[in-house]
């Protein structure tokens, strides 16, 4: 499978959502269980609205977390999104 690209537009697949309640707030609920969204991972998933490109999301994160880590933010965001897509948790719009 190819990597998620900067122009990709993604959203959570049907049957996948961030947990809204209590202690499990860092969990992405999926049909077979739950994936822990540590650190900025939850923010990244929140930014997937089916309209923003991956590029836009990365720029938002770079702005939010500081641009000295810009390259790392880009690499790690794409890696996370690729993993989630391969897991079936994301769909392309």
């Amino acid at each position: 499978m190819t990597q998620v690209g900067l122009e990709s537009v993604l959203r959570l697949a049907p049957g996948c959502r961030l947990n809204e309640h209590g202690a499990g707030q860092d969990l992405l609920l999926i049909p077979e269980g739950a994936l822990r969204m540590q650190g900025p991972a939850r923010k990244i998933v929140e930014l997937l609205n089916g309209e923003r490109t991956v590029q836009t999301i990365i720029e938002d994160l770079q702005h939010r977390y500081g641009s000295e880590d810009a390259a790392r933010i880009e690499t790690e965001t794409i890696a996370l999104l690729t993993r989630l897509r391969d897991r079936g948790a994301l769909e392309s719009v």
């Binding site: 049907p14 049957g15 996948c16 209590g22 499990g24 609920l29 077979e32 739950a34 897509r85 897991r87």
Partner: protein, 359 residues
Amino acid sequence: MKYEPKALIAEVTHRCPLHCVYCSNPLEMQRRSEELSTSDWVSIFQQAGEMGVLQLHLTGGEPLARTDLAELIKAGRSSGLYINLITSGVGLDGPKLDALIEAGLDHIQLSFQDIEEGPANEFAGTRSHALKLRMAAMIRERRVGFTLNMVVHRSNLDRLEQMLAFAEQSGAQRVEIAHVQYYGWALKNRDALLPTRAQVDKSIEIVEAARTRLRGRLRIDFVLPDYYAKYPKPCMNGWGHQQMLIDPAGRVLPCHAAGVIPGLELSSTREHPLRWIWEESPAINKFRDESWMPEPCKSCDRRTRDFGGCRCQALLLTGDAAATDPVCTLAPRHDVIEKILAQVNGNSRNEWVYRIDPV
């Protein structure tokens, strides 16, 4: 509490329009008059949410046989649970499906008995296949998680490639290729259901090829029949470790089948808070830690991975629920499995035994 419950399996009814030859419900089914009320279930879901349970699996029987299903979904969702409906699709139509999704349904697992109508209806003991195809199309048109559950066994495993081709174009995100497990009614029909070794080997090849081809598009979950495994499955990820099942009458079990274990003292949500049952009840604690383990489990490195296997299977095949699961090649009673496999791998087809619905 060392053990945090993650999932609640709610058998909301044992009533079902299907009569599958491998039904996983207990041989003694609960009648309609014994079923919990809507408010009983609402209270259970609230308690489960407070205990940190994440997933609610609504199953049966056929959960659609309950007229309050939308209410149950709504209650589960407002208790913070992820709602999965495990269904045959019989009893569903467009407006009803919309109402369930509107109530907060996250995911549907739709079962199929085969990919060809004749055999599918034969295994289900009802003419349900055509309806299931219509339901699959209806689910695909809506925004809800969708898993196909293909139940496989000796008489249909040779059609695995066609099943996967159907799954690929069905709109499902995921397909479970689920080998029949030999509990409940399935044990009665085991000799007609258990696949041959040649079939199992071929099925592994087919699934591996399909996984590579469909990666990122369709997820394939595939579990081998444990009779052919070297080591036992980590049944329920450990007895009383992560999951519990509540039967239609409110009895709490560690799994679908544990009701067969003699002397297991089941507690009911009609009499006790769910937290007490999870933490303190005799049944949930019975095989929870390692103190029950015999050798070779007790000193085995794998005991923290497979927990000695399945207690129900140990009982059904050796007569002792505290024996090492006989599917384990290290088990003293592995000869039981070897005998069954030797028979099956040189056996001709048996007749089905159908079950009837509870009144």
